[in-house]
């Protein structure tokens, strides 16, 4: 749910861009976004755009959930992806043949339209350059 700080992230997502952060003091990347660097506590890390490539770090095919908001979504893939920039994001894997997924597989960031806002997710399908 966007707030004053995160509005920029969600606005960029609506434009098809995934933003992560990089510390201007120690140079290290981080996710999720914060107003400080979690490595060195320096203020105001800069926003940088991720290229959109990454590896599937872990995933589960959710077959049942008590959450009414997601009951209509099952089966869905709840996953962690390591972006090439060196940060790990939570996401869903879309359009996947769930029986062929494996950790380490290459994935590409795609935006999913959810009630008018864009939710960064990934797909295993090759995206043409």
């Amino acid at each position: 749910m966007p707030d004053d700080f995160s509005q920029r992230y969600w606005d960029a997502a609506r434009e098809g861009r995934l933003l992560i952060q990089r510390c201007t003091a120690c140079g290290r990347p981080q996710f999720y976004p914060r107003r400080h660097c979690r490595h060195c506590l320096a203020a105001d890390p800069e926003w940088v755009e991720a290229a959109g490539g990454g590896e599937l770090h872990a995933f589960t095919v959710v077959r049942w959930t008590p959450d009414a908001a997601f009951a209509g979504e099952v089966p869905y893939v709840f996953a962690l992806v390591d972006l090439d920039e060196g940060v790990r994001i939570t996401c869903n894997v879309l359009d996947a043949d769930v029986d062929t997924l494996s950790c380490g597989q290459r994935v590409t960031v795609v935006m999913r339209d959810v009630d008018g806002w864009a939710l960064p997710c990934v797909t295993t399908t090759e995206r043409s350059p």
Binding site: Y32, T60, R63, T65, D67, F78, A79
Partner: protein, 388 residues
């Protein structure tokens, strides 16, 4: 080096509610019931209690931000020392360690640690989410996390990295069920086989329904006091707190550095070092079993087997009553009792086991028991080492 407070506090009373379903009972009524049972077991009275630990911030526990005060008010305890550390199911294991220190420091003399929840029946709304969808949660909650999914994510990673199988995970559920067979209060007692676990409905791959703990209405309490007072109690069979440790990990899965290792590596090492014991000197263990994977990753993280060896370790019979490390001798959360945060019940079974009155499987001559809690989404851990 052994800590100066090692063995200076003892658990002198323990009581687990025989209830598994308690429709219509507010969780606070369960608190009063189990505190009465634990004090009776200790040979102490409400007026003796000057320390109190509990937490009830989850909806099935009936409380909110002032839960500690409200339960003390409801039960009738006026403590001069208290603790309400809120780290998921590990909380009450953490409280045992804190209470041992407080008793040693002379801040209080008789501490009650109490837990109750109506996970099945109490009609309170419950959202199974790691955090608020505002703030840090906005980068995880929109993707459909819930407890089973988050543990499944880690289990799947362990399988990919180490070749762990669904059969390995199932071996934990099979052993807990076998241990529950003799426990008349256990929620499920009929034996199961690995194939039964694999044939039960898949909730979130690779976790099946029988890889998950039961959901009960229940509670438990234990009473701690100083070594001196413990030795003066008439019916006393004191079980000493030899060491304790705790550690924080993360709430969001995207912040967990290694899904195949929990912060049990720290809490376990600290607890053993403070107890002055090596891991080979542990006779048995009560290992938090929210899910089969929780046990497997915890055994590795504590050092009972090497990283990646948890699957073969549990499948080899090492966790059986005649194995290297018998665990969850009452049937654990997987078969006996799990109202939502089991840590207190694991401590109670550790105490019963060392006193020789386990309701499940009583071992011969166990002198030390490691009790380990894992809270939240592999989020935090607490370990205590008990001895007689």
């Amino acid at each position: 080096m052994t800590s100066p407070w090692s063995g200076e506090a003892a658990i002198v009373g323990a009581y687990e509610s025989p209830r598994r379903k308690a429709p219509g009972m507010h969780p606070y009524a369960l608190h009063a019931e189990v505190i009465r049972g634990a004090l009776a077991d200790a040979g102490l009275e409400l007026g003796d209690v000057d320390g109190f630990c509990t937490v009830a911030s989850m909806p099935p526990e009936g409380g909110r931000d002032m839960d500690l005060i409200e339960i003390a008010e409801y039960v009738g305890i006026r403590p001069r020392w208290f603790d309400s550390t809120d780290i998921g199911g590990a909380a009450f294991v953490s409280h045992a360690g804190h209470a041992a220190l407080a008793i040693h420091a002379g801040l209080c003399e008789v501490v009650v640690v109490s837990y109750a929840a109506a996970g099945r029946s109490w009609p309170l709304p419950y959202e199974d989410l790691p955090s608020s969808p505002y703030g840090p949660g906005q980068w995880e909650v929109p993707y459909g996390p819930w407890t089973v999914a988050s543990y499944a994510l880690a289990a799947r990673r362990h399988m990919d990295v180490y070749g762990t199988t669904a059969e390995h995970l199932a071996a934990v559920a099979v052993q807990c069920r076998a241990n529950a067979a003799g426990n008349e209060h256990a929620m499920y007692r009929d034996p199961i086989a690995v194939d039964d676990v694999l044939a039960s409905p898949c909730i979130a791959e690779p976790l099946h329904k029988l890889d998950c703990c039961v959901v009960s209405d229940s509670g438990g309490a234990f009473v701690m006091t100083s070594r001196r007072r413990a030795e003066r109690l008439s019916g006393g069979r004191p079980v000493y707190v030899l060491g304790a440790g705790e550690a924080l990990g993360q709430v969001h899965m995207n912040q967990m550095p290694d899904l195949t290792r929990t912060v049990a590596a720290q809490s376990g090492r600290d607890a053993l070092e403070r107890a002055g014991l090596g891991i080979d000197e542990i006779d048995c263990a009560q290992i938090y079993d929210s899910f089969t994977y929780t046990v497997l990753v915890t055994l590795e993280s504590l050092g009972f087997c090497a990283a990646g060896e948890g699957g073969p370790f549990v499948a080899s019979g090492a966790i059986a009553p005649d194995g290297r490390l018998p665990i969850n001798t009452d049937g654990g959360g997987l078969s006996s009792n799990h109202p939502g945060r089991r840590g207190a019940l694991a401590v109670i079974e550790g105490v019963r086991q060392l006193r020789g009155d386990s309701p499940g499987v009583q071992l011969d001559g166990a002198r030390t028991c490691l009790v380990h809690g894992t809270g939240g989404f592999l989020s935090a851990t607490a370990t205590v080492v008990l001895g007689v």
